[in-house]
């Protein structure tokens, strides 16, 4: 390309920046918004943000385009959004781990920290359960704890890796109960679901969704308790950790929208408002039901304070246990 063409292009480009609309936040968004997803395509952590992106497109009037950038437990996606221009056209749909990567700094370094991201709103999360096989001798949480206490180090606990929130939830509960189990790491939930079904592990922390849910409903798996504030609708007889008298709520997992630090509050509230409207849309509720993912809403302020409380809790736990 010759120099004159380049010069013309530059001048045109620069002049467009002075268009009155370029800085008007009420007009955001004026072009497609990229939503960065931290997981590989296909899993529930991917399908839920995609569903939201679909509905956000209609709400915002501009396409919200999901883009997968998997790897490093979501830190690659997090780093990408943290380093992006804070103009509201790059946002991330992240969970607890990506929101505060410094908690796991000893396990897996990240190129950013929670200070580099601004939370906008939370719209979903994972329902976390403590699950055993249906033909196991533990018919209830109490029986499980009794057995574990009288047989220390016998039970095989399957988890998705040291540092993962599911592992933290399980270990924190075990710690509170004063029980010891053999911790067996796996690469993914699919792997330890298989191991549990095959009888190679005895207990694990499982998402209530996807294939695990099918097994729970088919009564091949049994849920002992759920790591939630309230009981899960479809499992009315299963107690929550709180009801059982335990404080461990490390299983409180969210999926929310984040923007790079420096994004204007106007854009943040635009995203939050749009999400609030989407959540009230009955079609969206239907879609989430079909995916078997919950709607967990937190507005910007609540979300911010939850994130700092949550990461402080987890950091404290990891420090006390000597993991970091």
């Amino acid at each position: 390309m010759n120099r004159i063409a380049m010069l013309l292009a530059t001048v045109t480009f620069l002049s467009l920046q002075f268009h009155p609309g370029a800085w008007a936040q009420e007009k955001y968004p004026e072009r497609p918004v990229q939503a960065i997803l931290p997981y590989s395509p296909g899993g529930p952590g991917d399908l839920t943000p995609r569903l939201l992106s679909d509905f956000m497109t209609k709400q915002l009037g501009q396409p919200v385009v999901p883009l997968n950038k998997p790897g490093s437990g979501g830190f690659i996606a997090g780093g990408y959004v943290a380093a992006a221009k804070p103009d509201g056209y790059t946002i991330g749909m992240f969970a607890n781990t990506q929101a505060a990567p410094e908690v796991l700094a000893k396990f897996r370094p990240a190129s950013y920290s929670s200070k580099d991201l601004v939370p906008a709103v939370n719209f979903s999360g994972w329902l976390v359960t403590l699950t055993v096989r249906a033909d196991s001798p533990f018919k209830s949480f109490k029986e499980f704890v009794e057995y574990a206490k009288s047989n220390p180090g016998k039970l095989r606990f399957g988890h998705p890796g040291v540092g993962n929130r599911y592992w933290i939830a399980g270990m924190a509960l075990a710690d509170e109960l004063g029980i010891k189990m053999k911790e067996i790491p796996f690469n993914s939930e699919g792997e330890y679901l298989t191991a549990l079904l095959g009888g190679h592990i005895d207990v694990s922390v499982m998402t209530y969704g996807g294939s695990a849910r099918e097994h729970i409903l088919a009564k091949t798996l049994r849920v002992l308790c759920v790591f939630e504030e309230k009981r899960i609708e479809e499992l009315p007889d299963v107690p929550t950790v709180k009801e059982l008298g335990h404080q461990s709520t490390y299983g409180d997992l969210f999926i929310g929208i984040f923007a790079p630090k420096g994004t204007s509050p106007g854009i943040i509230s635009r995203l939050a408002d749009a999400t609030t409207k989407v959540i009230e849309n009955p079609e969206f509720v239907q879609g989430m039901k079909r995916l078997n993912m919950p709607i967990k809403y937190m507005n910007t302020k609540d979300f911010e304070s939850f994130i700092s409380k949550d990461s402080a809790l987890v950091t404290k736990f990891l420090k006390e246990k000597g993991y970091i």
Partner: protein, 508 residues
């Protein structure tokens, strides 16, 4: 009798015009995806997920499945023609397929590959139909100790991938093991050998490595030749386009063995088409009357692996459709496709949504037929590609590799990793170090470590666990026997010749 009923039902759904169309679209796209190095079934299924919005659940799943097994048909094309695997499961096909092409036998190679794929795919569907639930239950019995033994068995197969110097092959296998250490340590949570590159935290991706090691290196190698504008791969005249009767005779048993092998291996976690193709190659070489011919263009070395990888596709559907468990990354994406349409596979699928289960099964029959019909005439077109001058052909290949490696994770570093392995692969080719053992070790190594660690935790540090469980001990014993059998045979022969010498002396 129930079998025939199910078969009827499956065919009814499969023959539905819209479903046939969906299957056709999936197969065509899958073949394309398989042929292009880099773009794999998981990336393309993910790309097409939004498109399935307009389809009914049955149609969507039929189409996405078509992409999956279609890619296994197409993957061998570039392996045979230009020594560049389209898929990780087609790496082994490069070994003998490309040599056949250089001898002017690209047609029969492609042909036997297509037929083998068809037979393998069909057999695995029959297995899926008749044995899905019991197979799934059996697959569940493969816990960490059993999988360790499978990996152990797989490692002993590396020997059979050796071409030429055994030392060099073992060196490459060790290198593959070392490369496999890159990433996160599952048991301590720490990071190993990532050189601070975040993209390496999850280890090396098979796609980048095989594209670099085989594709980019081939491009670099070709750059050394002169007259790139005029030369082409076709060194000898094209003799036939289809496999001869002798070819069929040589391939019959390999295809039969590979069909069964793939159907069962596919049901195991992480099993899948890739490992099935490697193990099939090793088995064929071991059982062949002319093992020394492997690596020079022996058709059994193409027939076996290509059949196995397609059979493994069908096998992989067993745990997915009966238990909702994906055994490989591609199946996980397929699972996502199911869930988007509101269908979650699990123990209920066959009973609650029989049209999905039998629909997929039925359409797979027709999909395989369509693929065979599609691929056979294409052979004539593909072999013309061999006439394209190097300069154009390899520039295109280079472009596809670059794009393909980026598209996987939308990541620039992946491209750099691929190119790095391209340089490594180039050096390996120049100094005649075989790449196949490296790839196999890279695939098996991390899994080997994982299963070893998990089993030892289960067994509280004692290796007795591997022998206290029936499946695991049988596999280990067979593997050990295979390893020492050449030694035993040689020892036996020496004893016999010594005995005959002694008796000969007596007679004299």
């Amino acid at each position: 009798m129930e079998f025939l009923q199910h078969l009827q039902y499956a065919f009814k759904i499969g023959l539905d015009p819209m479903n046939l169309l969906a299957a056709f679209m999936g197969c065509v796209f899958g073949t394309l995806v398989g042929v292009l190095p880099g773009l794999g079934p998981s990336a393309s299924i993910a790309l097409l997920l939004p498109v399935t919005y307009y389809f009914t659940p049955v149609q969507a799943i039929i189409m996405l499945s078509g992409i999956y097994y279609g890619a296994q048909y197409g993957g061998s094309t570039t392996s045979i023609l230009v020594n560049i695997p389209g898929e990780a499961s087609s790496v082994v096909t490069c070994l003998d397929g490309y040599q056949m092409a250089r001898k002017g036998r690209a047609g029969p190679a492609l042909g036997i590959s297509a037929f083998g794929s068809f037979i393998g795919g069909t057999v695995s569907i029959i297995v899926l139909m008749c044995l899905a639930p019991p197979l799934a239950r059996m697959a569940l019995r493969f816990g960490p100790p059993e999988m360790f033994s499978v990996m152990f068995f797989g490692f002993t197969m590396i020997i059979y991938l050796a071409k030429g110097s055994m030392i060099k092959s073992l060196m490459m296998a060790m290198l593959g093991l070392l490369f496999g250490c890159i990433g996160t340590d599952l048991f301590g949570g720490g990071i190993r050998y990532t050189l601070g590159i975040p993209q390496l935290t999850d280890g090396l991706d098979m796609v980048q490595v095989s594209m670099g090691l085989f594709g980019i290196s081939e491009v670099l190698l070709i750059l050394e030749e002169e007259d790139l504008g005029k030369k082409d791969i076709q060194r000898t005249r094209m003799r036939e386009l289809l496999p001869s009767r002798q070819d069929w005779k040589d391939s019959a048993k390999p295809i039969a063995r590979a069909s069964i092998l793939g159907s069962f291996l596919g049901t195991l976690p992480g099993g899948g088409p890739t490992i099935s193709s490697f193990i099939s190659y090793a088995i064929e070489k071991r059982l062949s009357k002319h093992p020394e011919r492997f690596g020079t263009g022996e058709i059994a070395g193409v027939a076996g692996p290509e059949t196995a990888n397609n059979a493994a596709c069908g096998g992989a559907f067993v745990p997915l459709l009966t238990l909702g468990i994906p055994t490989t990354v591609v199946m996980a994406v397929l699972l996502g496709g199911f869930m988007i349409k509101g269908v979650t596979p699990g123990p209920f699928l066959i009973t609650k949504s029989p049209e999905i289960f039998w629909g997929v099964v039925g359409s797979m029959y027709f999909g395989n037929v369509m693929l065979l019909v599609l691929n056979l005439p294409l052979i004539g077109i593909w072999v013309r590609i061999l006439k394209i001058p190097y300069a154009i052909l390899f520039s295109l290949i280079f472009l596809f590799c670059l794009v393909g490696s980026y598209i996987l994770n939308n990541n620039r570093t992946d491209v750099l990793i691929m190119v790095t392995f391209g340089v490594i692969g180039y050096l390996m080719k120049k100094f005649e170090y075989p790449a196949a053992p490296l790839i196999l070790a890279l695939i098996l190594g991390p899994q080997f470590e994982k299963y070893l660690g998990q089993s030892l935790i289960m067994g509280e540090g004692s290796p007795v666990i591997f022998f206290s469980r029936p499946i695991s001990s049988i596999l280990l014993i067979v593997a050990i026997l295979l390893l020492v059998s050449p030694l035993l045979l040689r020892w036996g022969r020496e004893q016999r010749s010594r005995l005959s010498e002694e008796s000969g002396d007596d007679l004299a």
